[in-house]
């Protein structure tokens, strides 16, 4: 999101999901939408039925490819080269929106210079996408009157993730595809309340509403509301926390509803960091792999057992309502936090969750017009500054929060760990349709666990044939960090030389293998590319085990 904040001044989906059906060009890059945002994918299919052109850029044959007019199968980690080549074609063929560039952007010349060397031929060499397809993609995208781009972690989970985002921003800016209904740049949010957790500033550098902790005026406002002195120094992010714990600088960690042992890159490092802590508290609904390491585990209520709000991927604040009671002595997270706060000498007194939301509204203009009473009629999309404001379906209508949007000159950097003789395969990780994230919830749904019971590694039939690996055979996958053993799934979803492992399964955790190198700006780990080797496990060995 830091990428979009730099470019536009705000890092959110520019459009809303219902607008998708009126796109005439849909460009999906690094998003397995049909499996990971199934309902957004349905709107895409609706648009395709109405005549929209669907371009997919993805190294894997994801389910949406079946519906695509054009599939760009770029090599893993070469997105910048692909987008730069598309930009090159747009500039060369004069397919750019000069009026928009002139009026609403800055930095076009340097960005244009940066893509000058990215001819379709160069693009083809780096990405493996035939140059004709690169040219066709540029023409289709530029011809769209209502063209929108959708992306997710396939763009961001790279050591150059921010560059990927910058290059996509260049694409929408050159085409002038912003500030109108059904045109824009849309990062789809992977978890139910990523948007909300970001908005509420569970982040080390900002207060709720993206107000910098270093900004005196913002700090004064929060100090007045909370009646306490606040720190102006930026804190540690999740990645730094783990290193600080290992170094002995971080002593106590309080984790609410997170399972970093499973979700973070390089599990060995995460385990070591958490074990180095003096005191770890985990608040969750299940005994997760992370909770096992805790000194105290606090039982929490799940979504069906409490009141509150989630903010979905298109900035829509929606009610969560209590339907059943939590089991045993489990309690709402909010109740636990308030009790802890009281025990530490600070009173948090709220009669109900609507009062908490009202406090957010007092401190952040963009949700000041949203309250529980209004949400009885349905969700409201922020920005919504006043109670008579209808909410905002699409962003940047007349201006960007930073005035003019910024082009970026983006250089292509390859992923940091590429296949070599010892580790000849590229490993990519992600989710599959049935399971969810670290599996703590879905693996406890019998039906889902029956249908998607086991960890597996997707292998291209050509590689499997060469290595005599049968579908369903056990294989060992190893990287420089560790190795896991799991079933082979022989399928043409990954390309030759590439394997894919979903990260839901603790018994064969993909993040044992992944490379803990991070994007320097966003601190997102490179979960989408690392080098691994495969070994077939011999039948007798398997039997002995």
């Amino acid at each position: 999101m830091a990428g979009l904040v730099t470019v536009f001044g705000s890092g959110v989906m520019t459009n809303s999901v219902p607008e998708t059906e009126n796109n005439d060009v849909i460009f999906v890059i690094g998003s397995n939408t049909k499996e990971n945002h199934p309902i957004v994918a349905l709107r895409m299919l609706k648009a395709v039925k109405k005549g929209a052109k669907l371009i997919i850029a993805d190294p894997r044959r994801i389910p949406l490819v079946k519906h695509a007019h054009l599939w760009l199968k770029q090599r893993h980690g070469t997105d910048v080269a692909l987008i730069n080549s598309i930009l090159h074609v747009m500039i060369k063929e004069d397919l750019i929106n000069k009026k928009f560039i002139e009026e609403r952007t800055e930095g076009f010349t340097t960005a244009a210079a940066a893509v000058e060397g990215f001819t379709p031929e160069v693009g083809e060499k780096i990405t493996g996408v035939p140059k004709e397809k690169i040219i066709e993609a540029a023409r289709i995208y530029a011809a769209g009157k209502n063209a929108a781009i959708y992306y997710t972690m396939g763009i961001t989970q790279h050591s150059h993730g921010t560059d990927n985002v910058y290059s996509l921003a260049n694409l929408v800016l050159m085409a002038g595809n912003l500030g109108r209904e059904s045109v824009g740049l849309n990062p789809l949010r992977g978890q139910n309340n990523v948007q909300g957790a970001s908005d509420m500033a569970c982040a080390p550098n900002v207060f709720p509403g993206y107000q910098k902790v270093s900004d005196d005026a913002a700090r004064a406002k929060f100090e007045a509301e909370w009646k306490v002195k606040l720190q102006d120094k930026i804190g540690m992010n999740a990645i730094d926390m783990m290193y600080a714990a290992e170094a002995g600088k971080l002593k106590g960690l309080y984790i609410m509803g997170e399972n970093p042992v499973m979700s973070d890159a390089d599990q060995k490092h995460t385990l070591h960091a958490l074990k180095s802590l003096e005191f770890l508290v985990v608040q969750d609904i299940f005994m997760t792999q992370t909770a096992e390491l805790a000194d105290v585990v606090l039982p929490a209520a799940c979504f069906a057992e409490k009141d509150g709000t989630f903010t979905n991927t298109d900035r829509r604040v929606q009610r969560v309502r209590k339907a059943v009671n939590p089991p045993g002595n489990a309690r709402d997270d909010s109740w636990i936090i308030m009790q802890l706060s009281h025990a530490m000498g600070y009173e948090m007194n709220y009669a109900d969750m609507s009062e908490v939301f009202d406090e957010v509204g007092r401190l952040w203009q963009n949700v000041a017009g949203i309250n529980y009473r209004r949400m009885e009629k349905g969700g409201i999309q922020w920005p919504c500054p006043t109670t008579d404001h209808p909410g905002t379906p699409y962003m940047f209508k007349d201006k960007f929060p930073i005035g003019k949007a910024k082009f970026s000159a983006v250089k292509f950097n390859p992923s940091l760990e590429l296949p070599d003789d010892e580790y000849p395969f590229t490993l990519s990780t992600g989710r599959q349709l049935l399971q969810y994230h670290t599996g703590t919830m879905t693996r406890r749904v019998k039906a889902i666990d029956t249908a998607a019971h086991e960890a597996y590694v997707e292998i291209n039939p050509a590689d499997a044939g060469r290595m005599s690996i049968d579908n369903g055979a056990m294989v060992r996958v190893s990287s420089r960090r560790g190795s896991i053993t799991l079933k082979a799934k022989v399928t043409n979803v990954p390309d030759v030389g590439v394997v894919f492992i979903p990260f839901h399964y603790s018994e064969a955790a993909a993040n044992v293998l992944t490379n803990p190198v991070y994007d320097p700006i966003c601190k997102i780990p490179e979960l989408k590319v690392c080098a691994v080797k495969l070994e077939k496990i011999q039948e007798d060995k398997n039997h002995a085990a």
Partner: protein, 347 residues
Amino acid sequence: MGIKLTIDGKEVEAKNGATILQTARDYGIYIPTLCDNPALEPYGGCRLCLVEVEGMPKPTTSCTTPITEGMKVKTVTPQVERLRKTVIELLLSDHPNDCMTCERAGDCKLQEFAYFYGLRSNRFYGKRRQYTKQDGNPFLERNMDKCILCGQCVRVCNEVQGVGAIDIAYRGFDAKVCPSFENDLNCEFCGQCVSVCPTGALTGRIWSKKGRTIGIKEVETTCSYCGCGCQLNLHVRGNEIARVSSKPDNHNEGWLCVKGRFGYEFITSPDRLTTPLIKRDGKFTEATWDEAISYVAERFKKIIADNGPDAMAGLSSARCTNEENFLFQKFMRAVVGTNNVDHCARL
């Protein structure tokens, strides 16, 4: 401008290309249907929506007939009512009479029409379709003897979900909805087909015997899986969720995925944490809330006193609510005194 016509003597107006059924619905005029769904292409299968149009020799299906200028439509006449009743009778003649145990009793369109037309006995009888259940999938239960061949499941799978897992095979009395080669269902298990099925032919396997309509309270909430933020209706009976549905007027248009529709069983998992646990000598022991809260507070206070507030950090969650995240960061900043707070947006 729009096209003007009269329906049941009422002057109405609609866009060129609209059907009689769509126009009637826009004006709140009820026409019974079994195969129609506003989200799907018109089908013309069930023949319940027959209406009389002045100048047309025979009743016509209102769902597939476009409106024309000056058209005069009658939706209720003795003739169409007789035809509708016969259609229901014919459907019931090959339908198991097991409303007593059917999951959909009370929420079944066929049962409802039988009720309105007072159909306790039937003029028609004969051979009935017999099917053996063969589903190995854990999500959907298919009782094809209750299928009325309205084709909504086939169309939703194809038109909306883009999967096309099922179609109508064979002809006439042998016609049935099935996956290719009558294999087991192997699809995305979104359950869109279940949500549009007008009878008990398709239900959720985990819904079985959890409750039908009596004693059910519906609670509207937001799904807790991905960022789509679909609106769910939790059907609650006692302290348990009996099933999940979604309303078509939501931003997700009533559609859900396999996790949203069938992935709620974790709520009642025996693995749920039910009491605070404090680790003593490497083993978790149960504690009361008072003990746990004061123990955590003491340990936090000691770390802050010995090493300063920046020796503390908090990791919050994109799974929790806005209010919980707000309170969590407020706790870290205002109570502990550090900006060391983050969440997992990156993963």
